[in-house]
């Protein structure tokens, strides 16, 4: 066991320590706290690189790629509950990604948040978040993972609600926490179920872990009441947690609202890391998801994976559709994220860990790039987020524009040169070959089309045409005396952009069909380079198809938004002009929030009111009734007493009193009369005694 494995805990511990120290820092110690956070994160990044190279070395030397460290935590009954961490390729790649992106976002934040009052606290939360996220990654115990998972939820709550004085931010934070908690509770139940089935929550524990063969076999064999294998139930419940965290339908509602947080937060949480935690979770428990009852059906997907696929596919399209009609720059990106997360889920479902994870990694880079670019835009436009009020920024903010464009193309999956293309292609290819149904493939393709479309729309709105910022500010002239001009962001912000942009391009190289390094890395094999990979069944057609789709999307976007420059912010959207009804539905996010508002939340509050009513009137009412009954009875008793008992009692008392008075005459109060009686009694007594002695 190497040094890095034994001390893997340092990776999350360093940011946690930094968080603790910054929490104690004074409000004005900005430089100190930023340095602390960035330094800790940098160290973590270096350690992650160490870990990564360790795994690389192990793979190249043909050693087992997974190493775990377990330790006892507390005892209950006859056993100890153990926790532990592990280092395997999945962990290593995630560690590098999170620490790297995180580090860049930290650096970016020094610029973005430079004018905020609560600068130090922001870095405290960021560090804490990073620590929790890294904890999720290295955990070798579902319990530890869950705990860090919850902490991630807490920090995201704190970060989303960072500008707590805005009611919308506070509400969004709460919404995020509660929505994810719904999923988490299912996760908890799944975990408990897993615990009771496997007797342990350690993933890998020298054959005794819950993701290892013996436990899986037992769980698969164990059938529940409704004929479902226990493993399936557990997997679905755990997946529910992932749904919450990764914003999958139907628990996606919190994610767009979460854009109330500062933009680096959005980048960090809602692009690169936290939302990816759900995908990571599914990847982590993939053995459980894919556990088959017998070897015969090994080829067909398990129920759990089918659910994952379907949810992912639906989410991908659903969110992409909504994104088409949004006007907030970050909201568009948020829905895009949801959509991409759907992709990842679908990838996991149809193609396995490598497919999903590859998209996760590439997406992390280009989506954080996009978010930070958007942040740069917002920053440059003085906190303006509505794309309709932007425009023409390509000249004013060249670096931002360039990097943003890279990100946009990567997201769209522009062929060959951009990482997004390769990862998305892998998913589509896998979906194509899915044994259950072709529909996910079609949905995925539709999603890709929509993605290209709405990204083109956004870029046209933001960067092309003329600036509409001034016209907006004319409406509220009191705010500023002179209309502000957009400006390029500081280098602390642009530097990460550039770095990320280059990554977004280069990263695709590690996952091409010809050199599926990523795939083999994850499975712990040495990669093989072969162009023949392209020639495998179905690869080229899929690549062609997706290329066509992307171009179609871009073209549509140009057709609607790029042909003639957008002149005024108040003009209706091109698509709205075409199909106002559909557009409104999309703009209102398919009325999901309203639906929840009118169903779940209303039922909930009705239940609450009912419960309170129960308390006040029923339970308490019973008590009151009883007490009133007692009061009534006592009143009755009193009446009887007064009118029935007392009268006769008085009579009796009078009799007693009269006779008492007679007796009282003897009690004259005069000592001498008593003494007289004593004398008489004495004489009589002596006489009686003598007489009785005689006789």
């Amino acid at each position: 066991m190497t040094w890095i494995v034994r001390n893997l805990w340092l990776i999350p511990a360093l940011p946690a320590l930094a968080a603790g120290l910054t929490a104690l820092a004074k409000r004005h110690q900005r430089r100190y706290s930023a340095a602390l956070a960035i330094g800790a994160m940098g160290l973590s990044f270096l350690l992650s690189l160490c870990a990564f190279s360790q795994v690389m070395l192990a793979i190249t030397h043909g050693q087992p790629s997974r190493q775990v460290v377990n330790f006892p935590w507390f005892e209950f009954g006859n056993q100890w509950l153990k926790l532990g961490w592990m280092l395997d390729p999945l962990t290593a790649i995630m560690l590098v990604m999170v620490t790297f992106v995180g580090l860049l976002i930290f650096i970016y934040s020094t610029g973005y948040m430079a004018h905020d009052d609560n600068f130090t606290r922001f870095f405290c939360f960021l560090s804490l978040f990073a620590a929790a996220m890294l904890g999720v990654i290295i955990a070798n115990s579902l319990l530890l993972l869950f705990m860090c998972w919850e902490l991630v939820g807490l920090t995201s709550y704190l970060l989303i609600g960072f500008w707590y004085h805005k009611p919308s931010a506070a509400a969004a934070a709460k919404k995020a926490f509660i929505t994810t908690r719904i999923g988490d509770l299912a996760f908890l139940v799944g975990m408990l179920w897993l615990f009771s089935q496997a007797g342990t929550l350690l993933f890998y524990d020298q054959g005794a872990g819950c993701l290892e063969h013996s436990a899986l076999t037992a769980m698969v064999a164990h059938l529940t009441g409704i004929g479902m294998a226990a493993s399936t139930g557990i997997a679905l419940l755990i997946f529910a947690g992932a749904v919450g965290k990764s914003g999958q339908v139907p628990l996606h509602v919190w994610l767009p609202d979460a854009m109330e947080g500062p933009t680096p937060v959005s980048a960090l949480i809602h692009a690169a890391t936290m939302v990816a935690a759900g995908v990571f979770l599914v990847a982590r428990v993939y053995p459980l998801m894919a556990a088959h009852s017998d070897a015969a059906s090994a080829l067909s997907a398990t129920t759990a994976l089918q659910v994952v696929t379907w949810i992912g596919a639906i989410t991908a399209v659903f969110a992409a559709l909504i994104a088409v009609a949004q006007n907030d720059i970050k909201r568009i990106l948020a829905y895009s994220t949801v959509s991409q997360l759907g992709y990842m889920m679908m990838g996991l479902g149809v193609g396995g860990v490598a497919v999903g994870m590859f998209h996760l990694i590439t997406h992390a880079f280009f989506k954080s790039l996009l978010f930070m670019g958007a942040g740069s835009v917002i920053h440059g436009c003085h906190e303006e987020q509505d794309i309709r009020r932007m425009g023409g920024l390509s000249k004013l903010m060249p670096v931002t524009f360039a990097t943003y464009a890279v990100g946009m193309l990567a997201l769209c999956g522009f062929p060959l040169f951009f990482s997004g293309f390769w990862s998305k292609d892998a998913i589509l290819h896998a979906a194509m070959g899915w044994s259950i149904s072709r529909i996910p493939f079609y949905l995925g393709s539709l999603g890709a089309l929509l993605t290209a479309f709405y990204m083109t729309r956004q870029v046209y709105y933001v960067f092309f045409g003329t600036s509409r910022l001034a016209s907006h500010h004319e409406a509220t002239p009191a705010a500023h005396t002179a209309p502000p001009t957009p400006h390029e962001s500081p280098s602390s912000m642009t530097f990460p952009l550039v770095l990320l942009a280059s990554c977004a391009i280069l990263l695709g190289a590690v996952g091409t069909p010809a050199w599926p390094w990523f795939d083999s890395f994850l499975s712990g094999e040495a990669p093989i380079f072969a162009f023949a990979g392209f020639l495998e069944h179905g690869i080229l057609p899929v690549m062609l198809t997706s290329t066509l789709i992307v171009f179609l999307g871009l073209a549509l976007g140009w057709w609607f938004y790029g042909r003639q420059p957008i002149l005024s912010a108040d003009l209706p959207d091109a698509l709205e002009q075409l199909q106002p009804g559909i557009f409104r539905v999309l703009q209102n996010k398919f009325y999901v929030d309203e639906l929840y508002e009118h169903t779940v939340i209303r039922w909930n509050s009705a239940l609450a009111t009912f419960s309170d009513w129960l308390d006040r009137w029923v339970w308490n009412g019973v008590v009151m009734t009883v007490s009133n009954l007692v009061l009534g009875l006592s009143w009755l008793a009193r009446s009887t007493d007064t009118y029935l008992v007392n009268t006769s009692f008085d009579e009796g008392c009078n009799t007693v009193t009269t006779s008492g008075k007679l007796l009282a005459r003897l009690q004259s109060g005069r000592t001498q009369s008593y003494l007289r009686l004593v004398g008489i009694a004495f004489a009589a007594l002596v006489l009686v005694l003598i007489w009785s002695a005689r006789s």
Binding site: G77, M147, L151, Y164, F177, S196, N604, D612, D615
Partner: protein
């Protein structure tokens, strides 16, 4: 000569303190100083006992037995196992906190602090007594100072609240007393340990069969009746829905320092009684009622959480939250009634559930008391206001206050890393295999807790600053320092629960094996 104090001396400390405060406490500063000194002395005694306690043994330790009224089988019998010790620690910990929260009380401070110390004595006695006679004495002894604390220092509705509290608990006490008198009538024993052994050997039912017109069949029914009577006593104290209506009113009207004691320690008396008394003696009867009891526990959890959602008074919210948290304990206790034979796996699950219950009892005591303390601090700053909508944006002016209270709130909603999580996790871990449906339903409570606690944060601390609190002072250094120990303990227990679990584990195993 052993220098470590005995349980009796621990019981005496607050009593002496109460007398000393009454005798010397002519002025406020002196009274509270003396009271705090005695509270700390009790805490030190408890820590010394903790030190002396042998955690490897699950049986009762530090026992003291003296004959008292031998004719009635009344002995002075005290002793402590892990559970008692944990509750002692909780009590002696919460009392100084409560005193600190009532530090600036104006009316009759010497009487107030004396009553608190008296209450502490009652608590310590209840948690250590092993003979029904003086256990009941202490049980009632704690009721009287609580009544006066509410009646004399409470809010505007205090008279009603105090009377409701008193009558409710009295009714419970009466049925409890009747039950034990009935037991005594047929067995001649007041000692809990002996009664438990009788029950395990089956002699208890035989004795009950000797009742007039008694047969083996009626003995069963009779035992059930006695069990129900005792259960009612504890149910009111805990409380279990639907015997809980006294609690929100009482908590809301009591002075906040007293509320801390009520929720932090007195509510544990009921749970303690359930575990220490009802389970060993009536486990057969309880087992027969297991499913309805579990339903009650689930109702306690869910209904109280729902009720908390619509409350507008911070103290009422926390009161319902209290019921909710104690509901998890009930869930754990009732679930381990399941008959599992000698299956070691199930035994382990039961141990997990019971460990969780103990931990949750301690955690809830600590967290709830701290939360009420924060309410007290808030009331002090707002001049008595504590409505949910009276505040807003306080985080801006009172950052540290918001941060620390947020910590306590998150501890309450069971955030991992803080103390609340482990207890709840262990309870659910144990309950799930024993009563899966109840566990699944109860998770709803976790969600609702999150909803109303976050709602509270949103209304009180977030949003635009309420102008009337624009100059609200943040926590003073003294307040920060006095709040530090409970908060530190929350973190410590969240990260290293073995602190407590190591001490109670043997006790848990012992109890669980008894219930087989």
């Amino acid at each position: 000569m052993n220098l470590t104090p005995s349980i009796s001396s621990l019981t005496v400390v607050p009593l002496v303190g109460a007398l000393a405060v009454l005798a010397l406490g002519s002025n406020r500063k002196l009274a509270r100083g003396i009271a705090l000194a005695f509270a700390f002395l009790a805490l030190i005694f408890t820590l010394l006992l903790w030190h002396r306690f042998n955690p490897a043994s699950g049986t009762l330790q530090l026992e003291e037995i003296h004959a008292w009224i031998p004719v009635l089988g009344v002995q002075y019998h005290v002793g402590a196992d892990g559970l008692s010790l944990l509750m002692l620690l909780l009590s002696t910990l919460v009392v100084p906190m409560s005193m600190a929260a009532s530090w600036n009380i104006q009316e009759k401070p010497s009487l107030y602090f004396a009553l608190i110390l008296l209450l502490e004595a009652g608590l310590i006695g209840t948690f250590t007594a092993l003979n029904f006679f003086h256990w009941f004495l202490f049980w009632e002894l704690s009721l009287i100072p609580a009544f006066f604390l509410i009646r004399l220092w409470g809010g505007s509705q205090r008279a009603t609240a105090a009377t409701q509290f008193f009558l409710y608990t009295m009714v419970g006490s009466v049925t409890l007393l009747l039950s034990f008198l009935a037991l005594f009538l047929y067995t001649g024993i007041f000692d809990f340990i002996t009664l438990g052994e009788l029950a395990r050997s089956g002699h208890l039912l035989q004795s009950l069969a000797t009742a007039p017109h008694g047969t083996a069949a009626t003995a069963d029914r009779f035992a059930l009746l006695i069990c129900l009577g005792a259960l009612l006593g504890f149910a009111v104290k805990v409380p279990i829905v639907p015997f809980h209506t006294w609690l929100p009113a009482t908590y809301a009207e009591a002075p906040t320092g007293t509320t801390m004691l009520l929720t932090g320690t007195m509510s544990k008396m009921g749970l303690y009684g359930l575990i220490r008394i009802l389970l060993p003696i009536f486990y057969l009867q309880m087992r027969s009622m297991r499913t309805p009891l579990l339903w009650l526990a689930v109702a306690t959890i869910v209904l109280s959480a729902y009720a908390a959602l619509v409350q507008k008074d911070l103290k009422r919210i926390f009161a319902y939250s209290s019921i909710n948290h104690l509901g998890y304990c009930l869930l754990g206790i009732f679930s381990i009634l399941k008959f599992t034979g000698d299956d070691p796996a199930m035994l382990s699950e039961k141990a997990a559930a019971l460990s969780g219950v103990f931990l949750q009892m301690f955690n809830h005591g600590l967290t709830a008391a701290t939360l009420f303390w924060f309410v007290a601090l808030l009331e002090k700053r707002s001049g008595g206001l504590r409505g949910l909508n009276d505040f807003g944006g306080l985080r801006k002016v009172a950052t540290v206050f918001a941060g620390l209270m947020g910590m306590a709130l998150f501890s309450s909603l069971g955030l991992p890393g803080l103390n609340g999580f482990i207890g709840e996790f262990l309870i659910f871990k144990g309950v799930f295999p024993l009563a899966g449906w109840a566990a699944s339903l109860s998770t709803l409570g976790l969600l609702l807790t999150a909803i109303f606690l976050l709602g509270l944060i949103q209304r009180v601390f977030a949003g635009p600053l309420n102008p009337s609190f624009a100059h609200m002072p943040d926590l003073t250094t003294a307040e920060r320092l006095s709040l530090f120990p409970p908060l530190a303990l929350m973190v410590a227990l969240g990260i290293y629960p073995q602190l407590v679990l190591g001490v109670i584990n043997s006790t848990v195993l012992h109890l669980v094996q008894q219930l087989r």
